[in-house]
Structures are given as structure tokens and as C-alpha cells.
């Protein structure tokens, strides 16, 4: 059994509850144990680091320190949380003064940020730790006959100086996972593009245009569904799909799955169990 500290992203506790729920179904099947960090706090989204760089460092040093206390790596299932926490980690590791200032405060809670735990995405754990062969061996309901559009999103790829797992111009980890589960990936130009989430509330029209472009390509490529490793991308591509497509005058729709759901399906769990029925498009 491989153990990890599991970071609970805000969105997975509110709008996309199905992510954590589906992981709970299959984690043991793949020899994984995720220990939920109930003490963890919001990572600050992509905003806190410029609103207040020091609070940003404190909050995320603490999130990582909680995992370090257990001697575990921190696993994240939201792209932006991943990018944000890794950005903070990079800054802390490169700036001894900041690290010291933060640790002086963390002492109050008996915590210390040392920089010993890695911060990794659920997708990377599946592909790199569990391994594609193991996953293949565990599949009971292969996703064959499905044409799947892999949508990586931004913050699992960029900035590459912070993420570094995949080639940001030609990512492959999600494609590999899909294929290990028996699915067929389609060439998808928008695979490493943006979903528009982060401007939804500030520049909605622009955001939806961005989303519509990706949806349109998937629809035109006759994909059966889109799969994404990020609940924020999912929220736009699924939740805002009808609005985005309407704005772009496209009369069609396409389901969007989380990777956790796709893994669950291939391992034999039902759509109902996994919470897929909660999607707006399904």
C-alpha cells in the first residue's frame, strides 16, 4: 500500500464532490491510501500570491508541512492547487529568509516546513507510481470503443519551471492513462490549452469563448467525451458548457469526465456510484 497525504481542494468539497468520492471507491484497488488533510486550507487559488505573497507562502508552507509531519508526499487533484502549492514550495526552497519567517510562525502549531515532501498531482501518481502496467492489469471494463479527448488544462503543465512533469507543448501522461484504461485518445489541438476558468467572474464572455473553442474541437472530432485532471476545467467545460456553446452558436453537447471517474469506470464501478450523474451534461 502506497500512502499519501491528500490535499482537499475547496472545489472538491463544494461543486465537484464526485472527484473525492470516486477516488474513495478505487484507491485500495490500485494499492493506494490517501490520508485526507482536514486541517489543510485553501491554497489561495491563482490570486493570493500577488494579493499577499507572504500569506501565500505561509498558507502553503503549512499545507505541505502537514504532509511532512506524517512523512508523506502531498497529492493534489486540482491543477491550480497543484501549481499554486508547488509555486510556494519553489519560493520557500529558494528563499531561506522567507522559509525562516514562515517557520517562526508555524512553530505555534508545532509545524515546520522543511521541504522534504513532494507535491504531486493525482494523475502523476497514477502514471508514475502505480504504473501503467499495474493499471492495465486491474482494468475490468476497458474503455474500448470510446474516443476520448484528453484536456490537460494549464496548471498541470505551465509554468513548466514549476510543474515540469510533462512537456508543456506535447504532454503525454493523460494520453497514457487513457490508453492504459483501454480507451482511444484522439488528436486534440486544445489538449494543452486553457479552459477559461480563472476569468469566469471577471471577463465571462472571454472565458466562455475560450471554453467554447475547446468544446467545439472535441465535438467536431467526434470524441465521445472529454476527460480532464482538473475540477476547475471540469466546472467550465461541463457546468458552463451550454452557455459557452450557445454564445458560440453551436448546437451540440459533449460529456466531460474527471480522471477519477474514468479510472472508476474502467475498474468496474458504475456511473451512479462515481457520481457522474451529478454532471450537468451526462
Amino acid at each position: 500500500m502506497k500512502r499519501y497525504a491528500y490535499y482537499m481542494s475547496c472545489i472538491n468539497e463544494s461543486m465537484t464532490k464526485e472527484v473525492d468520492r470516486s477516488i474513495d471507491f478505487w484507491q485500495k484497488d490500485l494499492g493506494l491510501e490517501f490520508v485526507k488533510l482536514h486541517e489543510g486550507t485553501c491554497c489561495g487559488g491563482s490570486n493570493l500570491d500577488y494579493v499577499s505573497p507572504k500569506h501565500f507562502a505561509l498558507v502553503n508552507a503549512r499545507n505541505i508541512a502537514l504532509a511532512e509531519k506524517m512523512g508523506l508526499d502531498l497529492v493534489v487533484s486540482c491543477n491550480t492547487c497543484l501549481m499554486t502549492i508547488r509555486t510556494a514550495k519553489k519560493k520557500l526552497d529558494e528563499t531561506p529568509a522567507l522559509k525562516k519567517e514562515v517557520n517562526d510562525i508555524l512553530k505555534k502549531e508545532g509545524l515546520e516546513y522543511r521541504g522534504t515532501s513532494e507535491v504531486r498531482h493525482l494523475l502523476w501518481v497514477l502514471v508514475d507510481d502505480v504504473g501503467l502496467d499495474t493499471i492495465k492489469a486491474k482494468v475490468t471494463v476497458p474503455l474500448k470503443n470510446y474516443r476520448i479527448a484528453p484536456f490537460y488544462g494549464c496548471h498541470i503543465l505551465r509554468p513548466s519551471t514549476v510543474l515540469g512533469r510533462d512537456n508543456p507543448l506535447a504532454p503525454s501522461s493523460l494520453d497514457q492513462l487513457i490508453e492504459a484504461l483501454g480507451g482511444q485518445t484522439i488528436p486534440f489541438e486544445h489538449k494543452n490549452r486553457c479552459c477559461g476558468f480563472h476569468t469566469l467572474l471577471v471577463a465571462e464572455e472571454e472565458s466562455l469563448n475560450v471554453a467554447a473553442e475547446a468544446l467545439e474541437e472535441a465535438i467536431n472530432s467526434k470524441a465521445d467525451f472529454i476527460v480532464t485532471p482538473c475540477p476547475l476545467c471540469h466546472t467550465v467545460l461541463d457546468g458552463y458548457q451550454s452557455k459557452a456553446l450557445k454564445q458560440a452558436h453551436i448546437d451540440s453537447s459533449i460529456p466531460v469526465f474527471h480522471i477519477s471517474e474514468m479510472v472508476g469506470l474502467a475498474l468496474g464501478y458504475t456511473a451512479k456510484q462515481l457520481g457522474i450523474k451529478r454532471h450537468i451534461v451526462c
Binding site: D49, Y50, R62, R158, S207
Partner: protein
């Protein structure tokens, strides 16, 4: 290493360039032409295009000037990515082809097409003008050319990297928001604006910032990092964008624009609950009217699917919130002290 030697011995490869063609005088829509040439190791995409123009098809049109990666003329999309043709190695590009042996060459995006690989740069120049991308010197006219400003290494470091920008427009072409709305300020202009705003010689910081926080300005960036990732000079453009936002919050306050309110909400929520209160985020960002008008129909669907975020009282605070809050506030004191110190300076 063995691979390098093999390539050296191999010497040449047949490469097909699939080039975007469009001549507005005769073509109703763009098409692609294939040119297959024998390309030796070490040859760049630009030299290949030059070869094609000289020996195969003189009508193929593209811009090129210094051919050494400093003038920024030959920005184009090679295998889908915006970059300079003059610094792109053909043999490297061969590894990135979607179809083996075929390198796709297309014009930059989000700028008006003129012909083949040539796009109109005027919109970019217009935006540089709109956002006052210049220093309005505080040196009195009488002292011009007679005195020097004294600039600290610390200040120089703030804009050193930003002044590497050669306006090749690769970031403009890759920008997600610009694709969605051509009015958007664009990454290169944000970078230049940042560079001007941190320069102590400049006297119009406030004016420039006021323009930047308007619609289609700095708050519209969606943090996709495509600009930074495609920058041919490896400039951390997103850091510049973040710095403008930080400056906007500090200089203009957290209630200034919807973008500022949105950003500030994260700070509030984390301090209060350690978690984001998503249900009220739209209202806090854009007010009740906007929220009802824009999100009500969707909210209905979400209620049916039980996807709505919980209302504020039901958002569970993170475990151990009390001690977290104390630590958060301690850091707030640190920040206040920092500000006092920097203002004294």
C-alpha cells in the same frame, strides 16, 4: 551522443514544409502548400523558407530581417507553436511533427492576416500607445542630458529581464484571452507596462495603472501561462502581470474593480474559514444584479444536480481554524511592518 554522431553522418534529411498560404487578392480562403526539400543538420526553419522562396516558389511571403533572433520579425507558428523561425532548428522540429516528416508553418494568431505568414502588427503598436508604453521622464527639461538619475541595482533587476522583449508577438499569438477578445491588452503590452511602472524615472505610473485596470486590461488575464511558456526570450511574463495586479491592489485599493474584489475575496475567506466560500464569490466580485442576471439560469440546473456550493454558514471551516487564523493574522502584522519599513526608505 551516439545519436548526434549518427545524425552528423546522416547529414541530410528530406523534410516537407506544409505552409499556410493566403493572398487576399486572389484567394477566397487560406490553404496549405507542401514543399519538400533536403535539409541538412543545423539548418533553421527560416533558412529553409528562404531556400524555398529562392529556389522553389518566389511567391511565398514572410518577414525576416536580422535572422539572428534579435529583431523579432519572423514570428510564426511552427508545428503549432508561436516562435521565431530564425532560431528554430529543422531537425528539432522534426521530433515535434504530428505527421512524421511534415513541419507545419502558419502565421501568428490573433493579429489580422495580410498574406501567407505575414500578419499586421499595427494592433500591437496601437495598444502600446493606448497604455503609454514609454517613460514620461521626471527629469526637468533644463537638466535633460546634463544629469543622470541614480538607479540602484535592486531597481534595475526589476525591469532588466522585461527589457529583453523584442515584440515578436509570440505571446500575443498564444494568449488565450486575446483569442477570445481582440480588445484585450495582450501579454507583451502588459509586460512593457509593468516595465515602465517599476521605473523610478517615470512620472505617469498612476495614469498608466488607471488605464490598465479598465475593461480588457490586466484583470482579464486567465493565468494560463501560455505567454510565458512561449516567450522566445524566456521572460517571466506572468510575474509582470501579477506585479501589476499587486500594484493595483495596493495603489488603488481592494474595492477598485471586479478583478480586485475577486482577488481580495480569497484573502478574506482564507482568514475567516481557511476555505473558499464559493457561493458568494460571484456576488462579492460583481454584485447581486450581475450574479442574478448571469448565473441564475445555471444555478437552477446546478440545484437540480445538487452541484451548488453550500451557502456561507454551511461552509465547514478547516480543522484547527482558530490557531490557523492566529498565525494568518501574525503574518498580517509582518506585512504591515514591511510596509512601514519600505515607506520609511
Amino acid at each position: 551522443m551516439t545519436e548526434i554522431i549518427d545524425q552528423h553522418q546522416e547529414g541530410k534529411r528530406d523534410v516537407t514544409f506544409r505552409v499556410f498560404r493566403f493572398n487576399p487578392q486572389v484567394d477566397s480562403k487560406p490553404y496549405f502548400d507542401d514543399y519538400t526539400i533536403s535539409a541538412e543538420r543545423g539548418i533553421t526553419v527560416l533558412r529553409s523558407l528562404n531556400y524555398i522562396k529562392e529556389h522553389v516558389d518566389a511567391t511565398l511571403s514572410f518577414r525576416a530581417f536580422c535572422q539572428a533572433g534579435i529583431c523579432g520579425s519572423c514570428g510564426m507558428r511552427v508545428n503549432g507553436i508561436s516562435k521565431l523561425a530564425c532560431t528554430s532548428q529543422v531537425w528539432d522540429e522534426l521530433d515535434k511533427c504530428r505527421e512524421p516528416g511534415i513541419i507545419r508553418v502558419e502565421p501568428l494568431r490573433s493579429l489580422p492576416m495580410i498574406k501567407d505568414l505575414i500578419v499586421d502588427m499595427d494592433p500591437l503598436v496601437d495598444k502600446m500607445t493606448r497604455y503609454s508604453n514609454w517613460i514620461d521622464s521626471t527629469m526637468p527639461l533644463a537638466d535633460m542630458g546634463k544629469k543622470e538619475f541614480l538607479i540602484s541595482e535592486e531597481e534595475f533587476q526589476q525591469y532588466d529581464k522585461a527589457t529583453d522583449c523584442i515584440l515578436c508577438a509570440s505571446c500575443v499569438s498564444e494568449c488565450s484571452i486575446l483569442r477570445a477578445n481582440k480588445e484585450y491588452v495582450s501579454p507583451a503590452v502588459l509586460l512593457k507596462s509593468y516595465r515602465m511602472n517599476v521605473d523610478s524615472r517615470d512620472g505617469i505610473h498612476d495614469l498608466r495603472l488607471a488605464e490598465l485596470v479598465k475593461d480588457h486590461g490586466v484583470w482579464d488575464c486567465t493565468h494560463c501561462y501560455r505567454c510565458q511558456e512561449s516567450c522566445v526570450k524566456s521572460i517571466p511574463i506572468m510575474e509582470a502581470i501579477h506585479a501589476i495586479r499587486e500594484d493595483a491592489l495596493e495603489s488603488r485599493g481592494p474595492r477598485d474593480t471586479s478583478g480586485a474584489k475577486h482577488a481580495e475575496a480569497f484573502m478574506e475567506d482564507i482568514e475567516k474559514k481557511g476555505k473558499l466560500v464559493e457561493a458568494t464569490l460571484p456576488i462579492r466580485t460583481n454584485g447581486v444584479v450581475w450574479t442574478l442576471r448571469n448565473l441564475l439560469p445555471m444555478a437552477m440546473k446546478m440545484i437540480v444536480k445538487r452541484r451548488t456550493p453550500p451557502p456561507p454558514p454551511l461552509v465547514k471551516s478547516a480543522k484547527g481554524i482558530k490557531i490557523f487564523r492566529a498565525m494568518f493574522r501574525e503574518m498580517t502584522e509582518h506585512v504591515k511592518q514591511d510596509h512601514l519599513k519600505s515607506h520609511k526608505k
